[in-house]
Symmetry: C2
Subunit: 256 residues, 2 copies
């Protein structure tokens, strides 16, 4: 490795995903890249870690400025393995993605992409999760890759506050049609589940998790959902302290 910046790239769709390779390409002009990704797709894995199975990893690409490893685990496992067993120093930046599908609003809680970014920030690495709102295998990542590089460069220059990471989502438009970058808060919303009930060949029912997103505040122009709807790249700064400080005062009045 050279004296360049060291960038750790990971994702949750697995090392073969187009978004992962687009992100690696976007980072190479900014520094040396070590990419450590799950062997298999890990969508919806949130901040999960593997405690019941042993982990294995192996190198699949060894270049001077790009090394790629695969791990049989979750995105958070990848970050832990990278920090503890692959990298010889703390990286200057961790980027995760580019996810195939939105991680705006409440979806952040289920997101393996953002699990990895949060894990980086807990370990005091400036960390950013990138997601494209289109969920399919034919995403045009060019605009997302361009803006990923712009945002990564700013983070390398300025750093991030202690234990804060960024949740970046890209609208599904070409670069020329991006309205700009907008700093947002997480939209209040939730997923309305509609389990798809089916019957297997031996007559037993099973369910596929499905559903649709419900935005509780579609008019709020300071939210990530609003920004994406209006073709902005949305950035939500994210913290790992989940304490509701307002509620502490209320609970102290309860008579236990």
């Amino acid at each position: 490795m050279t004296g360049n910046k060291l960038i750790l790239v990971t994702n949750d769709d697995g090392y073969q995903a187009d978004g992962f390779n687009a992100l690696i390409e976007a980072m190479l002009p900014l520094g040396d890249v070590v990419a450590v990704a799950p062997r298999e797709a890990q969508s919806g894995m949130s901040h999960a870690i593997t405690v019941k199975q042993p982990l294995r990893f192996h190198k699949i690409k060894h270049g001077e400025r790009l090394q790629v490893y695969v791990v049989n685990g979750t995105p958070v496992d990848c970050v832990k393995i990278a920090i503890n067993h692959i990298l010889h120093r703390k990286p200057d930046l961790l980027v995760s993605g580019i996810n195939h599908g939105s991680n705006s609003s409440t979806s952040i809680l289920y997101s393996g992409t953002m699990g990895a970014a949060l894990e980086g920030s807990i370990n005091l690495i400036p960390s950013v999760g990138f997601s494209h709102i289109k969920y399919s295998n034919d995403i045009d990542f060019r605009a997302a890759a361009k803006y990923s590089a712009i945002i990564a460069e700013r983070v390398l220059e300025n750093g991030l506050p202690r234990k804060i990471c960024l949740n970046v989502n890209f609208p599904d438009v070409e670069a020329d049609n991006v309205a700009g970058i907008k700093i947002c808060r997480q939209t209040m919303g939730y997923w309305r589940e509609e389990f798809d009930r089916r019957i297997d060949p031996v007559g037993v029912e099973y369910f596929w998790l499905t559903g649709f997103y419900h935005n509780e505040e579609p008019e709020a122009s300071d939210t990530d959902e609003w920004a994406l709807k209006h073709n902005y790249v949305s950035i939500v700064p994210v913290q790992s302290d989940l304490t509701s400080y307002e509620t502490i005062k209320m609970l102290n009045k309860w008579n236990f």
Copy 2:
């Protein structure tokens, strides 16, 4: 079912765990219980959902005031299945646990117990996750069960603020030695990993995730770690909005 309060019980250690059954027993004096738990232990599953496999569930106990179901999924899957396919109305309370092992401080991020509680709160159900700091199979749950009932009763009486759940942890002492209940904030800390490297019979290395918790602020008496160390039951109110509002102002000064 009767006209009683309806309490949904879930956990992440699986339906056979002692802590799960202790929590069911603690809730039965407060209302009718529907318990929906993972078939297998799901420790470390955080807010993960199952998207690549179909879900199945079946009833293993059908009493007038207690029904128990098992699901081949994560704790969050259990909550989603319960709300959408098992329960005929929104429960008055969701309780998750009692977990075998602490979910204080940063451990909340990895916790399936708290994943389930957060999922309940997103769905506007007053929700509480309970965890015992001892991680083993021979935990004395009597004190934890007593205080679980006390806290659950208060939540049934008072409700909780919109989208706020509680993260309750129990010290490893008998009920008479509990110092009281303390409302706290989440301690700043992290896990220092020490992967246990081994070689399998065919000579290939593999790793078990292990490590120890590092408290970054051991003297801070308003934290859950401090409370537990001093034999208090700790309660941290928890929110699903991860936005760092302070950082929004800072990022708006960046020149994108």
